[in-house]
Amino acid sequence: MDEPVTLTWWHNAVAGDNGENLLGDYWQKVADDYHALHPNVSFQIEQIQNEDLQRTRIPVALQSGDAPDIFQQWGGGELADQADAGYLMDLSAAIPDAIAELGGAVAPWQYDGTTYGVPFTFGVEGFWYRKSLFEKAGITSEPATMDELNADVQKLKDAGIIPISVGAGDKWPAAHWWYNFALRECAKDVLQASGITFDFSDPCFVAAGEDLKAFIDTNPFQPQFTSTPAQQVPSSSAGLLATGKSAMELMGHWNIFVLDGFAADDAAKAALDADLGWFPFPATASGKGDPTAALGGGDGFSCYKDAPAACADFLAYLVSADVQKGFAEAVGSLPVNPAAASAVTNPNLQELAAVSGNAAYVQLWLDTTYGQNVGGAMNDGIVAIFAGTGTPQGVVDLMTAAAATA
């Protein structure tokens, strides 16, 4: 029999306000199941609030040389930094079959041709909207171009409905608008190269800011949007959508849980889910980007370099078809493993998965791609456009300055 090992596992699934913790409970079950299959492997799980985990706990633990064996991994620039510093276990050699099974979605968890983490959920961004409010404003079809979106914004305003809510107070929800415009303005190779070279001299980056500024100038958002957070409180951007005060919100695939969180009971939740629709970011009139390209992101796990070999094996188990199916069923989110896709029942998530599958390419969130330094500078610059103090050129200047310090 194998030697007994204990794997420490840090993840970000913490209980919500109502005490419910679907994901946390599911991870516990996955750990228990794995322990039943491999009695020599036990788990010591810690649930840590996302921001603490990502900004403080994991970096400090890695620095101290006493890191958890398995920890949450968001991929992109942050993973690249950790891999560069030699903190991450090379999973390519350890679990090649599991990685191959997941397909292209693993790309953000790869660096220099090596896989350093595996995602368990991945989805693309789009507009979540209320069908009933669209109907009330006389909108009959989902907008496919920016012109159509602008026309719909005007119709909603005429009907006395806030067209779009945005949680600009949290910065990133505002920044995602710019990312989407950049995706439409920039050619694929320019955008992807920028994540490696940090060269933002292509005019498409300024053009993205100009598109955004022109759109903000049409006043599509709720009042005081720079004071609005994205989640939790009823006056947040998600709260406005969930309570029927605004008609649309641009947000990632997790928004379904955030919105459901505002429903008082199961009946209200079912009614809300039935009234929610989803469509991808519209095509722009100009730009070199592919109109079907999508922005997205996900959550995954990495193993610490000194973790026992069982760590990699456990991650392979975690993303295997059956466990991913169970994830989709228990948590209701989007799995990564294509073999688990059939377990997704929410029609909006099904549509979202189809858009993701048919996209010309899926670009990881730009702030995650560029890492915290350049990504943070970018978000600051974008939010300044929202606040009316920044310029399209300013975003590029801030990014260039931050890139020069790394």
Binding site: R55, Q63, D81, G169, P223, S227, P234, A387
Partner: protein, 345 residues
Amino acid sequence: MVNTAASGKGKGPAPGAKASAAGPSPERPMTRKTPRSGEARKWGEITLFVGPALVMFLVFVVYPVASALRYSFYKWNGVKAFSEAEFIGLENYRRALFGPGVFKTAYSEPFWTAIGHNFAIIALSMSIQLPLALIIALILNRRFPGRTAVRLIIFAPYVLSEVIAGVMWLIIFDPNGIATKLFTDLGLTPPAGGWFEDQKWGFWTVFFVVTWKYLGLAIILFLAGLSGVPQELQEAASIDGASWWQIQRRINIPLIGPTIRIWAFLSIIGSIQLFDMVWVLNKGGTVGQYSTIASFMMDKGFFRKDMGFGSAIAVIMFLISLIVALLYMFFILRRDNSDSVKKAR
């Protein structure tokens, strides 16, 4: 020699301490041990009493300050091991203070803005909080029914945790909150960008919250000072026909001068280090409308993973605090200190 050593122990449990405080006693040399063992004992006691505190001070204050100074000369993202960080001399300081080229709008301008906010809060504390607290303290400095309750209410904000108070004000100043409602009901227009985020209003809203939070401390300190002013002076003055205002101006306020000066000192240092409230409200504002040196440091150091630069900001903040504190001690508190020395004599 023996005498000073004994009195130097102050409150130490040495048997001779009391005798020395009462003046030299002819019997003492006979009861005392040899000077040598007294010396050893003195050092033993110093080690015992000062040692643990000194160790804590060295480990948790001196070492981190020295480390921050060291980090500030490096380009370090806080992820890789520090041994692999690149030494860049004073580059982080140059970027923070002078921001050549591309660094100007990204680093030095926001940093100077943050410093400006800190000093604006100092100036406003002295020009608004001080007179306000003084007037309230003078009014409350008399017996009236419910005095304890009023004092309690005034002091309550100071006792509240910063995070709780911050969240409370976030709810009040929410775009759909009661402040907005009150304003619109009165026919006024609430700030377009939101209370905390508006370019014009943001800083003032935060200053209002900070004043609400810390005014209680000033009032309680002033009240404590006022309770130490001898009643007879005020009675004598009123018999001589002095008005209430004259009594305050000529007697009460001058006599609580030392208290006011100490409060001002605490307020200045607190203003330079202001962080918790500003961070809870929204990390210094989406575009730094009310950023402070500390929130700027936190943002760049931890959230941008620019640890070397963040350390440089920390060192600059330390130096500003130190210089301001020394200047204040030298020019303003010196009088109080020499007063107390004179009194002690």
